[in-house]
Subunit: 774 residues, 2 copies
């Protein structure tokens, strides 16, 4: 097989750049009805309240309004949730956060829907709420889910290794700190949306902007008492997801609408304000950390407690916290760990999956203490990280032996040798007037895949079409991260087709539960690794098959004498060839299809801890990164400008360098926003940053030109040696920028984001800038 | 995987024993038209003649006769033939043997067809013919195919190894002999038949008693200018085939009839007399042999010339001769060989494939000379064979190194130790009055598969049906040899299903070019080996798939923790299980299908000889056997009674002992008929044994209770270690019985069959019986 030397342009690049790509609503029929949810909490300033009634009379009088449905109209359990099913599709008795819906309106048009929603009235009696996890855990606190036997504690869990208490007691050096990280809004370009139609044969045919079309069927089926196998879901390219479309958003509401639309198609599309009000957020977390070390900086023990605010519903709260706990000690050798986690219900907006999935929240804490330790021991902070960095064969902080690839040390070495690091002193000294400069860094990691207990599997289908082209049935949604393009590239390489010469040689079908095979969600940095592996198996089977069929057609005795070449099978010895177009005509449909599957390996020595976790613990594979930030702080305003940002990433072997860099850069950009300016504010559970004029995300002008370095490692179990790189990049900016800010100002900020107000307050302490780093 | 200890009854046994099984004509719709060929040669006593005209007027006047078609109505090349296409579907200019058809009649019923055929008249001018290969090769002999550039020599070929001429010149002992073997009629229970219909979408839908449904499409397509992919052929169980249904019999005629039937279904079924007149025969062969050896019996050299009478058309004549030549030296180490072959056109009936495919003809010659050598050297004939028997790693007479399994020596050892051999002297001495007794033996072998140049491949499809049962898409016809049952058994074992407890756990679909994948013909002892291997691959993929899918459904991390059990996937650790019925419902159709393929390995050191062969030379895999016969000869009538017959067979590992024995016994039975009584007679190309009252085959009363011994070897490339055993059994009886006859009478008969007339003539030479054997 000949591998092409330079990859062709990303398969979806042209269509996306020119606007030709079609997203969910581009597929919606023009005659769609409009459906929308009535979420009265925000208007009534009620985050927790008893629903006494919904008055639909005025709404039903609005021309074009067809139906107003309430909880009583929901046929099934009326409960959604990926693992814990605790979130009503429509709330009939209680609203638990300001975005909870109590009615669903079905109207002829978007305008009549808007007027119908405006005409609805709900009678809601306020209930006392809980808006802070510590308060929520107090005895006699109002209960968000009175039937939950843990009260407001959704889950308490512990990971322990060795004897952290004793080790800390005896540790020569101990550093401590408390940290808090905020909620974060996904703010994807395309808000939650979809359309659906109940077909005459009883199949509910849906097209949704979703990260998990296969799982959605079960969630809808459970909530609405439908046969999941009679629900078909198509998932075209998403206009962003980041975790916020992992789990039901519009799905159940839209399905309910379609069930009541007499066979007509219905669409639902959330306005930006509804997306902010009702969409899932990154968990706000409070972290209390104690870290002990030898005098030479060798880490000894960590004790910490992490408190995750999951808001009104569980969503993936337990799993997000689990991942945070598994990463709580950073990518370091720590012999003794005691990691406590509490995931708490409040009446705040619902928290759920978000790129970095629980880990983005812990990295500012462990990296904050690494800097504190370096300062206390007068050690170079990079050297301290390098000294403790996990190596292959080490045990991580959960007690899992790292049999997978680990190249963190190489990431740190890249930083150490980089001019941005080696010239930092002179650069800092050259700061302009009223400006302080600082250079910070962070080492981070991120688990890949579902972890134990979930069978992290993908099933790839590959067809040689009747026309002799290869068609990849992608079954993991592409939310923009480029996995679909990676699949086309992997298939082209394995099948020795040239996308550069013939972009149509490998085509992609986006997820469709009817035509593709279940392959899990687009999440957890797993898509390219898991589906890629499955696809390579399908491709290998296809190659073997085509050579064998060509052998038969060409009267060649041995398949080794044949080669799969672009568009044909060749018999080099005789110069004969059989075009794929001809070969395809020979083969029956069943013989033009290959299915490959891959089940992600799991840790063979799962430690005897973390028993509270139902699923997802522990992980075996991790991607690693080391980030470096150079910032300028405006002494007059507290504004932080990121001058340079460098991300060195170990994501295994690099398949397509530009896609790889895009993930590193996108993750860093989102992490910079998270670190510096995305202050998602609530008061009494009510969102204060209700639209994009107040809920800020960085624009291109707010960001430096992020440099991506690839540590081209090799993960033996990965497709062509790769690992997932979608998440790790988000975990570095917050600690690296806090580190840089400390370098610039001498003050370590432990509450995020690092807003100008907080920076200014720190500057006002008037301590001279630290010059710790020589 | 648990292998069941005792195989269940053969899957098709009950249906066949009770008459419930359905054969081709059992599927024919009642409203079928009848089609039949007009073959005037026999009635006109013309085997070679010029067709001057066909008068259809009287026939067309017969009520119910719809069409009379002649060569002018054939739309394509009008030529059929598997490799050489030289046989017209309907003869327009010349008939080359007495069974050649010149017209095709289409009628409403069998009766109107019969009357229509009787009313047809042909004007045929006799041409001088050739009825003996030696005469046919003479200069100025009438040419059967004047356009063939070799004249009547269809193919002359040579296999050479070492220097046979020099070796024979120097050999201390040389024996010589000339032999002749006769034509043989397949005489299957079910004569050639089928039915067909041209569907409105242009697909020609055929059901035919055929050994090669996939290849038939191309043969029909070529002859009639049809797209082979628009021909669908189904091949239910055959009521016998033996090679006689490998290649076109009714196919092209039936297709032509269907094309002219205005969409109505048409059937064609040959009467027994038509089957004898027009069907393919075993090649009559003349053999001239010279064998040289050391004084200790070590073989040194063979020189021989084989002349195959292929009759009026090539059919598989070249390939049949090729196989005979490859086996010409017997299963022995012979350092020097010179093997000449001539395949000759005559105006005799068409010769073609027949169980033993060219090899049955050479075994009486090489084994005759082995006996002659033993007698000359006063050696025990069994010891002489044992001494020279091929062993693994030896070079065979074509120069191919035997890297495949070889257990001939073990077969001979079985015979040597058997009471039928050890007590032979006493038994012979106890002959009743007017009766002579003799004991003979033979060592034989038979190549498996197509040999080089044809890509001997099978593609097996296996489906887990929606109902949770396994369905094997058998794509090699079962003509009674039991391959279909073997496939069910193989699949059941590999999938750990119990056919004994649930016969429906693995079901079989018989060949259908629309639903199954091409897997070659049912011939060459290849079906169970090749398709079995492909099926095992499909089963292994299916097992892996089902365990993986069950892992996903059961939330199990590793497929090794699961087991495929009868009707379910088990998780022994937790005691949970997932019934296949439930699992099947989870899976899409594409994911319930596995396709496995197998390409038979070929010799890696093909010798630089046999260059005249287009395809099929050399072979790498052989089955071996040693046969022992005890006979009584009636001195008054010359009648030979076979008292005991013992067949020790090396067919690799035995999968199902009763199927294995049935093949050994059936082969021996057919071989005994061939050896003793099946004298297929022609005179001037006209068949003298035109029906079953003169064309005799043995009945159960003519046969002993044939004992089968299995040398349970192991062929590493075989499915579960097996090799094909369909053919080797036919090659032993002729030499073993001639050997026994010589033992009884002192006379070696070299012309077969060993009819009472020939035996009596030998006895009349009044030589006392030989007592060579101590």
């Amino acid at each position: 097989m000949h591998l092409r030397s330079s990859p062709p342009p990303r398969a979806d690049a042209l269509a996306k750049a020119t606007g030709a790509e079609r997203y969910v609503l581009d597929f919606a029929p023009a005659e769609c009805l409009s459906a929308g949810a009535y979420r009265p909490g925000a208007a009534l300033n009620i985050a927790h309240g008893r629903v006494l009634g919904v008055d639909a009379s005025a709404a039903l009088a609005v021309p074009g309004v067809l139906r107003v449905l309430t909880a009583a109209d929901v046929p099934g359990t009326n409960l959604q949730g990926i693992v814990h099913k605790d979130q009503p599709v429509l709330c009939g008795e209680v609203i638990r956060h300001a975005g909870d819906p109590v009615a669903l309106v079905l109207a002829e048009s978007a305008e009549s829907l808007r007027r119908g929603l405006a005409a609805l009235r709900a009678d809601i009696e306020p209930l006392p709420g809980v808006f802070d996890p510590e308060a929520a855990l107090k005895k006699d606190a109002p209960l968000v889910h009175p039937q939950h036997k843990g009260g407001n504690l959704l889950l308490g869990a512990r990971i322990e290794k060795g004897d952290a208490r004793a080790a800390l007691k005896n540790a020569p050096v101990v550093v401590r700190g408390e940290f808090s990280t905020p909620m974060q809004e996904h703010a994807f370009l395309e808000t939650q949306c979809g359309f659906a139609r109940l077909l005459p044969d009883g199949v509910l045919d849906m097209t949704v902007s979703t990260q998990a079309p296969f799982r959605d069927r079960f969630e809808i089926g459970h909530a609405l008492a439908l046969n999941p196998f009679k629900i078909r879901i198509r998932a075209p390219y998403l206009g962003g997801g980041f975790g916020g479309k992992d789990g039901a958003t519009v799905q159940c509401l839209l399905a309910l609408a379609a069930l009541n639309a007499a066979g007509r198609p219905v669409r639902m599309s959330w306005e930006r304000e509804e997306s902010i009000l009702a969409g899932y957020k990154r968990h706000a977390v409070h972290l209390r950390y104690t870290l002990g070390a030898e005098r030479d900086g060798t880490l000894l023990a960590l004790s910490c407690r992490l408190t995750y605010d999951t808001g009104a519903y569980a969503h993936l709260g337990c799993e997000v916290m689990e991942l945070g706990m598994e990463h709580a000690a950073g990518p370091y050798r720590v012999p003794h760990t005691h990691i406590e986690g509490r995931c708490v219900y409040t009446n705040n907006p619902i928290a759920g999956a978000f790129r970095g999935f629980g880990v983005a929240q812990v990295s500012p804490a462990f990296e904050g203490l690494m800097d504190a330790l370096a300062a206390k021991l007068c050690l170079d902070p990079l050297e301290l990280r390098r000294k403790n960095a996990l190596l292959p064969g080490d045990e991580n902080c959960s007690g899992v032996t790292l049999t997978s690839s680990v190249h963190l040390a190489e990431c740190l070495d890249e930083l150490a040798a980089h001019p941005l690091w080696t010239t930092r002193q002179a650069w800092r000294a050259a700061a302009p007037r009223f400006t302080r400069r600082g250079v910070g860094l962070a080492a981070v990691f991120n688990g890949m895949g579902y972890g134990r207990g979930l069978a992290d599997m993908a099933i790839a289908k590959l067809e040689l079409t009747e026309a002799g082209e290869f068609l990849v049935y992608n079954s993991v949604a592409d939310m923009g991260q480029g996995n679909a393009a990676a699949f086309a590239l992997l298939a082209a390489q394995e099948l020795n087709q040239s996308l550069a010469e013939n972009p149509g040689a490998v085509r992609l079908l986006q997820p469709d539960t009817e035509r593709c095979h279940p392959s899990g969600s687009s999440s957890a940095g797993r898509t390219t690794y898991t589906f890629g592996n499955a696809l390579l198996k399908a491709c290998a089977a296809m190659r073997e098959k085509l050579l064998a069929r060509a052998a038969m057609a060409l009267f060649v005795d041995e398949t080794q004498a044949l080669e799969l070449a672009p568009g044909a099978v060749l018999h080099p010895a005789s110069g004969r060839s059989l075009p794929l177009t001809a070969l395809a005509r020979f083969l029956k449909r069943d013989d033009r299809v290959c299915v490959g599957e891959f089940l992600m390996p799991v840790a063979q020595d799962p430690p005897d801890t973390g028993r509270a976790f139902q699923i997802g613990f522990p992980h075996l594979f991790f991607s690693y990164g080391a980030h470096l930030a150079r910032i300028e702080v405006d002494e007059l305003t507290g504004r932080v400008r990121v001058c340079d940002f460098l991300a060195a990433t170990d994501g295994g072997r690099v398949l397509d360098r530009s896609c790889f860099d895009q993930q590193a850069q996108g993750g860093a950009a989102q992490g910079i926003g998270y670190a510096l300016l995305e202050e998602f504010k609530t008061r009494g559970g009510l969102i204060q940053t209700a639209d994009l004029s107040t809920c800020l995300i960085p624009t291109a002008l707010d960001l430096p030109d992020i440099q991506s370095l690839a540590v081209d490692g090799h993960e033996p179990t990965g497709p062509r040696g790769l690992k997932g790189v979608g998440e790790v990049g988000l975990n570095g900016p917050a600690p690296a920028l806090a580190s840089a800010l400390e370098d610039a100002t001498g003050e370590r900020l432990r509450d995020f984001p690092l807003t100008p107000e907080r920076v200014l307050a720190a500057l006002n302490k008037r301590r001279p800038p630290s010059r710790r780093r020589a």
